[in-house]
Every structure is written in structure tokens, then in C-alpha cells.
């Protein structure tokens, strides 16, 4: 039975995502919002690869999100106006950074690990701020835009056509999601579950825990960088706020809100959070307080997240 439920659930999710441009406007949304949900969902799912499935508390993912974004923006602006190339540069830069930082923190655990991820996250925020000659400092990288995708004969105008961009983002989202799902269901993925469930036991089964955590960390940062690249493309702009500590917190709350233990949880969490944020910021100046309150309420009353509650109801 659970196998069928799962397949049905997956099908429903994909159906909703593929048809989104059709029904979004009817529920008071707009296509850009849909794209934004996709991007944050990807980021939250990438984070959850580490948080929910490996059991590692990373609170500094915005750094790699931001590196992906800045890499993309700077490439188009200064290097060569090609969207795929720009994304490649952004993602590679972020992944390399993650691969290098990883060994420094992979021996740490719990709150100490979290502290260090926050601190390292801040390093990149600081660089984005200070290195204003390159990054534009607080003003960010502007006066550029995503390039239409040229495939020889055909061109997909993701610049002017919001729908085209949505499907472009969806395609990338699909590839990334499939890759993550694939990894999680493999023997390697199971070693990550083992580490989450009982690190000591994993170690005593011969699993080199630190090395696997490092691998999970790099994979997670890779996918979050893809989300970051898409973020830059969506906005045709990037500024240090993409890298700030609150961005990292947002990713985590999305994963928790949707349900950390489930694959699609972060997608649901992202959808709820982005819609809420969108609504609040248009209603009041003090939307930040409400978001903060939201964090508090989720943590106190909803720690297992939406899918956690659903699962419990199904079990009983």
C-alpha cells in the first residue's frame, strides 16, 4: 500500500507543477511566484538532503545559494552573455567552495557544527559586501539579464516569456529532484540514513562517517547552488541579501514546515512560506516580525511539519 500511495503522491505533485501556469492565476497567484516557489523548493530540498536525510544541522546554506547566484550574474554581466555558461560557473564556484570548506567542519557535530556553518556563511556575505568593485557591494549586481536559450535553430526566450522561464526552471528542478531521489534510494543514500539514525552504529558497521557527511554536504551545496543560479536569473539581479543568515534560516524553516523526513516536504514548506511572505510583504511594513513569529509558531507547535502530521494521521 505505501508504495502505491507514494507513486500517487509523486504523480499529483508533478501534475500540479507542470500545469501550474494554467491554474496559478485563478488562485490569486502569478507565474513569477510559481517560479520563485520552485527555486526555493529546490534550495530547501537540497538543504534537506543534508538536514532531514543525513541528520546534519547546516544553517549556512545561503552562502552556496548566493555563490551560485553571484557566479551566474557576474558571468553574464562581465564574461559572456550565456545563461547555461553562467549557471555552470555559479554552480561550480559554489561546489568548489563547499568541497574546500567541508573538511574543516565535517568533524564537528550538533550545535558547534551549526555555529560554524553560520560563521562560514557570513564569510561570503561579508565578501559580497566588501568586494564592491566586483560585487557592487550593497547595491548588488544589476544591469544584466538572463539570456534567451539558443539551440541552433530554435530559441527559447526565457527572458521575455515568464512561462518559458517557469518551464525552464521546472526542467532543472525535475532533473535535480530526480538526481537527489536517486541518490537517496541508493546504497550510498542508505548510509546517510544510517548516519542520521545512529552515528555510532554506522561507524561500527564500517561506514567512514566523516567522509560520507562530506559527500552529502557537497551534494547538498551543489543543488542549492543550482537554485541560487536560478534565483539570480529570475530576478535579473542579485545582492548580498541572498547570502544573509536569514536566508539560511528560511531554507531550514521551509524544510521543517513541510516535513523534514519526507522527500516532498520542503516543496510544500517552500510553497507555504513563499506565498505567506509574498502576502505579508504586500500588506504590512512589519512583515519581518510576522515571519519571525511564524518561525516561532512552527517550531513550537508544528515541528514535524505538514507531511509529518499527515503521516501520523494515516498511521492512526
Amino acid at each position: 500500500m505505501p508504495q502505491i500511495d507514494k507513486r500517487v503522491g509523486d504523480a499529483v505533485v508533478w501534475l500540479l507543477l507542470v500545469t501550474a501556469p494554467l491554474w496559478l492565476t485563478y488562485v490569486g497567484g502569478y507565474i513569477e511566484l510559481g517560479s520563485r516557489v520552485l527555486i526555493y523548493a529546490l534550495a530547501a530540498m537540497a538543504l534537506n538532503f543534508l538536514l532531514g536525510f543525513t541528520g546534519v544541522l547546516s544553517f549556512g546554506h545561503a552562502a552556496y545559494f548566493g555563490l551560485g547566484a553571484y557566479g551566474t550574474a557576474l558571468t553574464i554581466k562581465y564574461l559572456y552573455p550565456s545563461t547555461p555558461l553562467a549557471m555552470l560557473v555559479g554552480v561550480v564556484a559554489a561546489t568548489v567552495a563547499a568541497a574546500i570548506i567541508g573538511p574543516m567542519i565535517v568533524r564537528l557535530r550538533g550545535v558547534y557544527f551549526a555555529m560554524c556553518t553560520i560563521a562560514f556563511g557570513q564569510v561570503f556575505y561579508f565578501i559580497a559586501f566588501q568586494w564592491s568593485s566586483v560585487t557592487g557591494g550593497d547595491d548588488g549586481v544589476s544591469a544584466w539579464h538572463r539570456m534567451p536559450l539558443g539551440f541552433g535553430l530554435a530559441t527559447i526566450d526565457i527572458l521575455k516569456d515568464n512561462k518559458a522561464f517557469y518551464y525552464f526552471a521546472l526542467a532543472l528542478f525535475a532533473v535535480c529532484a530526480a538526481a537527489m531521489a536517486f541518490l537517496l534510494r541508493s546504497p550510498f543514500g542508505r548510509t546517510l540514513l544510517a548516519i542520521r539514525e545512529n552515528e555510532r552504529r554506522a561507524r561500527f558497521l564500517g561506514i567512514p562517517v566523516d567522509r560520507h557527511i562530506w559527500a552529502s554536504w557537497v551534494i547538498s551545496c551543489f543543488f542549492v547552488a543550482v537554485a541560487g543560479a536560478l534565483y539570480a536569473l529570475l530576478n535579473n539581479f542579485v545582492d548580498p541579501r541572498a547570502l544573509r543568515w536569514d536566508q539560511s534560516g528560511n531554507f531550514v524553516i521551509m524544510a521543517v514546515l513541510g516535513g523534514m523526513r519526507s522527500f516532498w516536504g520542503p516543496l510544500i514548506g517552500a510553497a507555504i512560506f513563499i506565498v505567506l511572505q509574498d502576502y505579508l510583504s504586500s500588506e504590512t511594513q512589519n512583515w519581518m516580525s510576522f515571519i519571525g513569529l511564524f518561525f516561532v509558531l512552527v517550531v513550537l507547535f508544528f515541528p514535524r511539519g505538514v507531511l509529518g502530521i499527515v503521516r501520523r494521521k494515516a498511521a492512526s
Binding site: 544553517f59 558547534y112 521543517v256 512589519n286 516561532v296
Partner: protein, 288 residues
Amino acid sequence: MTQLLLFNVFNGLIIGAFYALMALGLSLILNLSGVINFAHGGFLAIGGYLAYTLIPYLGFWGALVVAPVLTAAIGILVERVLIRRLYGRDPLYSLLLTFGLAFMIEDGTRFIWGAQSLPYRIPTWLAAPLSRSFFFLTGYRVFMVALVAAAVLGLFLILNRTRLGLRIRAGTLDLETVSSLGVNVRVLRSLNFGLGIYLAGLAGVLAAGMLGLQPTVGDNLIMPSFIAIIVGGLGSLPGTLAGGLLIGVASGVTSVFFPSASEAVIYVMMAAVLIVRPRGLFGEEGRF
């Protein structure tokens, strides 16, 4: 050249003292309750703003005394109502909670006191330079360092000479045993939290005098406090103190030779410590 160096080292010491004050509060809470209080910067801001509001009624000195206490009270309230519920759980949740609190405090202070920078008036005699050759040695700066030193000394005395301090120290090592010895752990945690927030509030009042007041005043100080703890060593208060001073001075000295790198150097120090000695300079093994 020496003037410049001295200036920057002294400046670095002041900043280091700030970092240390913040970091000590953070460290206290982290060591006993395992909570990373991301809202610490927010409490610093509250301390400063409360003092600002109290000055017309209590004067500079009155505000200096009362504001941190009020802040600590708010802190204890927050701990009892919110944070207490999360102690048994994964540290993820308390960190998310304090994140949320940080948002709320930052926006809240903006809402109550406005987004503009507020001026914080200090007594003129304090602001005057003490010496003609060492012009940077204003009374206020010396006063700040002295006050921080006094606060640290006070903390040291509390921890080592009072029963509360003994319980906190024991609880940091083994909370279960302390509990089974009949100590009310809930009250202990609250008081410890309050103590940590008191230090944040105090830092806020002092910072107001030097940097002025904005809703984001705590933002800039919280990250160096993290790094002070990482560098100095997890679980060790003397380490945190040393860490704070160290990164402050390093930052100050660097600003003489590579002014733009003065903030970056503390991140470099953090990376270095993590590579060479992950538990920190004075950290205890097995703390993580």
C-alpha cells in the same frame, strides 16, 4: 607609526572587549543549555534602546544600571515562555526559535524606535580625551574597557564564589547529576539565561554610547561573538574571553597594515583554528 599601531591595538582591545562581553553571554547560555541564542544581538539592541528611553528619567548612570537588568528580565521571560519548551529536543528547534526571535526583535525595535540612527548622549566629561599625545584615549573608551573588565570580574566572582555559580559550572559539565542532587534545573537555566542576557544588555548600553543606535546594531556584533567562541574554545569561558580579545586585537593590528582586511582576518583565524585545533584554543575535548 607606533602611535598608529598603539591606536589600533587599543581600538582592537576595545572592540575585543565588546566581542568578549557578547561572546561570554552567548557562551554561558550555550554551555549550560546547549542553545545557540541567535537573538543575542537583538537583546543587545534592546539594552541600548531601553537605556536610550530611560535616560530622560534616570540619567546616564541610572540607565546604565537599570537597562541591562530590564533586558535580562525580558530575556528570562522569553526563556520561560518559549525556549524552555525546546530543551529536550533536537538543537535545530531552539536555533530556529532564536532565529525567529531575532527577526521579531529587529523589526520590533524598528517599529518602536524607528529605523533612523538615534544619538546616544554620554556625559561630556567622559567623552573628553584624557591625554594630549594619546588623543584616542577618550574617557569613554577607557571607561568602557574598565566596565567590561568589571563585568568580567563580576562574572568570574559569581561563577566561582557563589552557589549559583557553582551550580552553573557543575551543570555545564553534567546537568543530570546536578538535577539528581536536588537542584532545580529549570530555575538554574532561567537564571543562567538571564545572566547571559544581562551581559548582552550591558554590551548594548555601552555600544550605544560608542556607535549610536540602530535596529541592526546587534547584527554586526553577533558574528564575531560566534567566532570568539569558536577560536577560544567551546565550553570554556576563559577561552571565550581570550578569543574575543584575540580577534579584536588581531583585527585592530591588521587595520594598520591591510585596512580592508581587518574584518576578514577574524574569519581567517576561525578557519585556521578549525583546521589545526577544532576544539578551539582552550576548548575541552569531546564537547562536540
